[in-house]
Amino acid sequence: MSTLPLFRRPKTAAIKPEASLDANYSSQWRLIYLRFKKHKLARISMVILGALYAIALFAQFLAPYGLESYDSKYVNAPPMMLRFVDADGKFHIRPFVYELKSGRDPETMRKIFETNTEKRYSLQFFAKGEEYKFLGLFQTTTRLFGVEQPGRLFILGTDAMGRDLFSRIVLGSQISLSIPLVGVGISFVIGLIIGSISGYFGGWLDSLIQRIIEIIRSFPTLPLWMALSAAIPPRIPIVTLYFYIVLIFALIGWTDLARVVRGKFISLKNEDYVVAAKIAGVGDAKIIMKHLLPGFISYLVVATTLAIPGMILAETAMSFLGLGIRSPATSWGVLLQEAQQIENIALYPWKLFPLGIVILTVLTYNFLGDGLRDAADPYKK
């Protein structure tokens, strides 16, 4: 409701001499930081998100298997237990898994797995696995953990091709966590620029931009996705496809931000200090950059943060409709799309694990956004 939540310092601060609290003199961002620190849930969320992004960054190192690693012997294998105590009750310092033997139920053709307690494979750290490029820099075969060869470790079970679900979740995070970030980033920039122009200059330009925004917003997202996906040229590498998807999200997403920015501009541009700057002959660009933007940039950061979870969910929805990324490239949307088949829910429920991660990510982003918003609101106690 209030027009200018952040920029205006409390009146009393101006007449208070040095003796008063330091906080009054801290920068806007420091204030936000101080308030944010008090928001416990947001802080925990930030830590979790940080961890998730770290996992995404080091995914190849953390995942015991690569994206294309599969094994027809271990199709639809359930999650395996890391054990410390063996069948004879003996304790082992190093956790281990038993050898997994597979067969088929002759009646239902279901894959059945039995553990062979004769054969143990110990967990190894910095185990040798398939070769990959560490952070895109150098080739290596060292992965954080694995079990002794030829043992297999499927912490969260396997999928229909016998691929390790845990590895796929970890590797899928690279796409799923970055798409929304990049997408929101692009819409942020577009929204900011167009919204600023629209709000600051007003007039016919504003009308035009508003109409355009109205037009874009009038489209139900579904046909827009479909049409844009259809417009993606055939035979493109996964990176390019990824880029297209990001673009689609950004093209749909920027309008919201542009509206917010415009609204803020309109309410701010008649403030005394802006008028004063104008009268003093300050250029438009400088007024926008120096006087207007700082007034609500934090608000935009919050709006942006809160837009991310929507994009994560949108990515899964796109995969559901078969419009997004396709296996063997992996995103959480791809994993959920596989999980949603009735036979998987009925027979192989562990394939729903990725859902947990999606929920966790969406929730933490929401809490983070909430925390930021509370922190950015100076009227909050």
Partner: protein, 657 residues
Amino acid sequence: MKKSRILLALLIVISVIAAGCTNNNTAKPSASKTPAETKAVQETPVATNAGTGSKEAPVLATLVGESKLPPLAERLPSASDIMVEDVVDELGQYGGDWTMSWTGPGDKWAVGMPTEEALFRFNKEGTAIEPNVAKSYEVNADSTVFTIHLREGMKWSDGMPFTADDVLFYWEHMLTKETFGKKIYDAYYSVDPVTGEKALAEVKKVNDYTFTVTHKYPSVQFLERVAIDNKWFFAPAHFQKTILPEFVGEAKTAEIAKDWGFEDPKAFLVDTGYYFWLHQKIPTLRAWVATTDPNSDQFIMERNPYYWKTDSEGHQLPYMDRIVVTKIQDPSQGLLGTLAGDYNLKSFEAKDFTVLKENEAKGNYRVLLWTQPSWTSAGVQLNQTTEDLKLRQLFQDIRFREALSVGVDRNEVTEIVTNGLAEPIQASVPEGVFGYQEGWAQQWAQFDPDRANKLLDEIGLTKRDKDGFRTFPDGSDLTLTDIESSTNADTFLELLKKYYEDLGLKFNVKVVESGAFNDMKYANQVPMNTEAISVTNVAFRPDALVPLRVITPWFGQYGLYSETGGKEGVKPEGDVAQILDLWNQLKASSSKEDISRLANEIYKIHMKNQWQIGYAGPTPVPVAVSNNMRNVPEKLVMADETRGIGQAHPAQFYLKQ
């Protein structure tokens, strides 16, 4: 005002909650069975036992009692002409619904095939035809004159008599005038064995129950081909006369079309002339007749009171009262519905087998495994006429096909793709189906990557690009692109990609919408596709094996060449030309033995060339049948030519009470 609104809102919430509660309580004991049970109560007293009780369904008996329907004897054909349908297990009881699902009126054949009544139908083995709507037939020695007898006293579902006039009307005023969007079927042409010239047959009425079809040249396979191409060689003349422009004028037809909800009179005539079983107003000879708008959420067909078949004890068929078809939007809903016992007979894909089997007891159904004449459940066809000439040359090289075949481990494919339900064999005619060849299943079926690489090197694909993929000898990019219209084969293609790329062959998959796929097929833009050949006998239906039209991916533009008489497309050469030659001989031959021999030759050429490469044998078709549904055969070959479930004669299915 305000208060009342809040009150209303509150009421709705409470009712929703209340509904939730009551539902949960009542649902526990037997939610899914309720409809069946109420039916049971209603029907039991009049349920028939063999030899005793009424010869007609209680519903109809009631109507007869109320004089709304003539008695049974008047509705059936004359006693000697009644068709007696053999039951699979036992004589049945009347009553109940056959519940199934479809994706809507676009899924016309989901109800079309099981209810179909052809003039001649295939026997249980699918090897020869037998009379169905027709009572009997005679053929002259050189197979040029076919005399066909109809059943006296047989009636359309509205009680009007069915006679030779209906056949002739169809022939004269519909088929030859092409009113319903189909060209005159190939079956009606005979071929001059010398010149290859085609001549249209003549159809003549002999009397009310007899007509003849006369060919200029011998047409040995005429009845089999009619049984596939033009199953119903008749139409209700008394009805068609009221809508065809020839009789009522263009304007009137257009008006009627509007009335029926059709904007376009042509579309109207297609629907009424070809997809007639979907329309309640059109009389049919089928066991069940449409009673609702096919666009509604539930399409219902009810028993035809004039149906002309009985069981051996003279009980008029069908046993079941109705077919109730629920519209679904996703195949998983059909599966879930079956698991919950909502549908009592439905076929599935092989991948659903395990979940169906595990829930047999809970869903109170049994899973039957029917077979299909498919050559493979996981294979690819290489377009022999693909646009890119270098690629075309490669595809035509038999060594390349062998390399692709031996370069893939079939054991892994069957494990992952077919859930262990298929054999790790080559694409080939399955045993028991016409055209089976000894040893074909094992041809190039052994996993041998060394040989594959050797073959590829031999062809000259020795150069590699910077990513290690083979290039053409001139160094240009070599990419195999598979075009798909659905994501069904995703897992298989992922696996294939891995194996092909291990051989150094770059492989891409592109999924397009089915309409676009169709367009691409015509534009010769489909180099590879996973479509599987599935044919009962090439002599009956040549489409997949003989390049006559643009249909099957492997022969690509050869088909267009035949279709346009050589104006467009690619001229067939070598073995493909030989296939066409054999086919022409087959068409003109005058004995069944010749036909068999020639057909077999065609299969042999296919075996030699292996244009379709298969990595797993065919999978069975799981069919979930509710436990109270009886007379469903344990074994059946599901083929389009023999009308799928229709082949099991659904009129004699019954629900045990």
